[in-house]
Every structure is written in C-alpha cells, then in structure tokens.
C-alpha cells in the first residue's frame, strides 16, 4: 500500500516545486501526496482511499515526481496537467525546434531566457505543456519525453 506523506515530507517535496518552478504550495492543498515504490502520487484528498483492502489495491492518483539518481524529476503527465502553474524554468519553444529536439534527442539552444537554470525544465509549445527536458551547461537541452510522444512530434514536424 502507498504511504501518505507526513506534513514535513510533503512540505519538502512541494518546496522543491516552489524553488525550481515557482509553483505555489497552496495549489496542492486539495491533494494528498502518497509515496509508492520510488514515485510520489498526487491524489485528490478524501478520507476513504486508505481504508481500501490491500489485497485489491493497485494504485491511486497521478504519478507526480520520481527520484532519478538522487534528483527529483517531475513526470510528463504532471507537467502536462499542472505545468501552467510554473513561473520559472519553463522553456517556450517553437514547433520546429521541438521537432528537432525530438528527432535528435537533444539540441543546443542559441539563446536562453535569464529565468532558466541548468537542471530539469518544463517544455512548452504554443500553449501546450509537453513534458520535461534536461538543461545542461553550454545550453545543451536533452529531451526527456516518452518515446512514443517523441515519435508523434517528429511526425508532426517532418524534416
């Protein structure tokens, strides 16, 4: 069964989202956060879920963030749903550029907005929040979208 994060752990996790992406903690007040294997899940708060018999329990809520080699990596689905709450480390890209990122797996960006730091960034195209990229020194951006989604973007932006 998943474990409900205690206030302190919850605060630490949400503080990461606040620091990294400028997401206000208050946005997550309607949700509980559960830990299960190496992931955390956002679950609409109500008092019943944990009473469910363990024998039939499979999963609750939306995969939110996972621990990758000691770093917190937001999931693609979280970014797609809640990316609009971010006020920093959001990279707004042109469709063509996103196409290149997906086809090559990485690109070098010519100019970076000052609000971007190295580490995980949220990638946005038009008003669509797509997923996560990893920004490294030298303006190198690695694509961290799921494979099938990369392929769909490549089909949409041929060449």
């Amino acid at each position: 069964m998943p474990r409900l994060l205690k206030t302190e752990q919850r605060h630490l996790l949400l503080e990461f989202f606040h620091e990294r992406f400028g997401m206000d903690q208050g946005h997550f007040d309607p949700f509980d956060i559960f830990a299960f294997s190496r992931q955390a899940f956002l679950f609409r708060r109500q008092d019943k879920a944990l009473d469910w018999p363990a024998s039939s329990f499979v999963r609750c809520g939306l995969p939110f963030v996972r621990n990758v080699a000691g770093y917190l990596k937001p999931t693609t689905v979280f970014v797609q749903r809640f990316g609009n709450l971010a006020t920093k480390n959001v990279l707004d890209m042109e469709m063509e550029q996103v196409g290149q990122l997906c086809s090559n797996g990485e690109i070098i960006l010519s100019a970076l907005p000052a609000s971007l730091d190295t580490g995980y960034v949220i990638i946005k195209m038009q008003q669509h929040y797509l997923g996560i990229g990893l920004l490294l020194e030298g303006n190198r951006l690695l694509c961290r979208f799921p494979k099938a989604m990369r392929e769909a973007i490549s089909r949409l932006t041929p060449g």
Partner: protein, 316 residues
C-alpha cells in the same frame, strides 16, 4: 435486400432471433458492412474543447461536432499511429454510444463513484471528467492485463481522483458505499460486430465466454449492494442479447428493492423488451434503452438506470 453468404455466419444468425424486435432489422444487417465511425472525446481535465479542436486541426484531423459538446466525430485523418493530441491526454477515442452509460449515471463533482468493470477506462475516465476530477472514483477490473491499459489511460488523461483496484466485481469487499455505481458488464459484444466487405470476415467477435448472463447477474447484484440508500446504478453492455440485458435487470428487480428510472439521453434509442421467447419480464424494463448501431451510426448498446430505495440522497 440481398443478404450475402457472410450473414449466415453463426454469430450473425443469432442476431436473427431479434428480427421481430429490432426496428428496421435489414438496416442493421446492412450497417454491419460499414466501417464504424471514430469519435474522440475531448478530455476537459487537461484542455479546453476549443483548444483541443484547434490542435487537432493543426494535426490534420477533420471532424464534425456531435450532440455532446466534448465529443467529435472524426471525418478524416491520415495518421496510422496515435496523434500528439493523444499523447498529451487531450483525447480519448470513444464511441458515441459508449458515452451514454456515463451520461445516464450523471456523476457530479464531489461524489463517490464505483466503476466495477472499468478497463480500459473509457467510461471511468469520462466519469472523472464529468466530476471535474474531484470526489472519488474507484475503477475496478478483474483482469491484470486490462488493468495495465486502465492505469495508462488514467495517467495519460492526468486524472487525480481515481483509485484503481483489481478484483472480481462480484466479490468486491468494500469498506464503504457509493453514491453511484456503473456496471459496464463483460458481454458478447454483438453491438460491435462488423463484416469486412472484401473478405467477408466477421470482426470483433467475443469468443470463449461462457454463461455471461450468470456473471452479469452476480455483478449487478453486488453492484446494487454497494450503493448508499438513494444511490444510482447504471447497468450497460454493448450487446443486443436479451439474456444479457433485460433478463439481468429483471433478475435484480426480482431480488432487490430496485426501481428503474427513465433515461434522458441525447440520441435515439428504443425501449427495453418485456417479452421474449415466451418469457415475460418486469414492465418497468420498458424504461431501459436499446441503442441500435444502424440508428445511431455507432456501437450498439443497452443502458438501464436503476435507483436504490432510500432517504439518503447522493452527495450532489
């Protein structure tokens, strides 16, 4: 009308049992040769209806609006593989008629809803959407393999209010009761039948299921017992079979203090059947709905909306 030799297929011959009951039966047989239209439900948990439509146009999809604002009928698209809109969780491919059980259930924000046979999640995720991703949805299914696609869909559509469980619905051991329950039962799937006009092959035939009616009766009874007093149960199938539809609801009416409610749904349907092969069913069954493929240009469905006696009203 010239019935081609394929219509002598044993599964099709079975449909002829309903020749007298189904309006324009020949139209139904003709319709079997036509491709089933594709519909996309727009997932308003992740996007707006207009926003998704604009993006679909950018992806080269041509579509028409339907009577349901969040459902579009696809007229043309070139893509053999899923669209980006799909990966972004903006759309769920879902037949027009498959939306009807959810519209009948009418889930509201803040309610507690159980979907007993939920995989791959077409209706469970639509329930979550109608509830604006609030309240509590339990999406259960018996089969491990199908749970995988249910989990993937709940995740892709960005849903936070859903608990996924794996159990036989008829044995679900529940710590609490629900405002609303959906049983979209395993069935013989006659409503999905298609005949390939070139090869004559019958497609979407469900084989190897034995005694579906017994399983369906066990499911509907258990589902009814998981309702709060005053709660609502919707029983649905995608088959035309009376044994799997009216007979199952009749079984419940004979055993529990259940009452059928009239359906208020936006597409054409025929009333349920009260007499078949010498058997008489409860007169209330006229209030159930039969959605015929040739009348709606979508999958055939059966929907029954049932109320549990009681003073405690659903939370809405």
């Amino acid at each position: 009308m010239n019935l081609s030799p394929q219509t002598k297929h044993p599964f099709i011959t079975k449909l002829y049992e309903y020749q007298e009951l189904i309006p324009d039966f020949e139209g139904l047989i003709d319709h079997l040769y036509r491709p089933m239209p594709v519909y996309f439900r727009i997932n308003t948990i992740k996007t707006g209806v207009d926003e998704a439509k604009n993006f679909l146009r950018q992806e080269g999809v041509e579509f028409q609006d339907t009577i349901i604002p969040e459902l579009i009928k696809v007229v043309h698209h070139n893509h053999k593989r899923p669209l980006l809109s799909y990966h972004l969780g903006y759309i769920y491919p879902q037949a027009l008629s498959s939306c009807m059980p959810v519209l009948a259930l009418d889930p509201r924000p803040g309610e507690m809803v159980l979907d007993m046979c939920a995989a791959p999640g077409g209706k469970a995720t639509y329930i979550a959407q109608r509830m604006e991703d609030t309240g509590f949805v339990v999406a259960n299914d018996r089969k491990r393999g199908r749970i995988t696609s249910l989990l993937a869909n709940v995740k892709r559509l960005g849903i936070t209010n859903t608990l996924v469980t794996q159990a036989r619905g008829e044995h679900l051991d529940l710590p609490y009761k629900f405002d609303k329950v959906l049983v979209d039962a395993p069935c013989s799937g006659q409503g999905k039948y298609r005949i390939d006009p070139v090869s004559g092959t019958l497609k979407h035939v469900v084989k190897g299921k034995t005694d579906l009616s017994a399983i369906q009766k066990a499911l509907i009874k258990r589902a009814f017992d998981t309702l709060k007093p005053g709660g609502i149960l919707v029983y649905s199938t995608c088959t035309l079979s009376v044994e799997e539809n009216e007979e199952v609801v009749d079984f419940l009416l004979n055993r529990r203090r259940a009452k059928l409610l009239a359906l208020e749904l936006p597409i054409d349907f025929s009333p349920g059947i009260t007499q078949f092969k010498g058997k008489k069913y409860n007169e209330q069954l006229e209030l159930t709905g039969r959605f015929y493929p040739h009348r709606i240009d979508s999958v055939g469905f059966f929907v029954a909306k049932i109320a549990k006696d009681g003073t405690e009203a659903p939370a809405s």
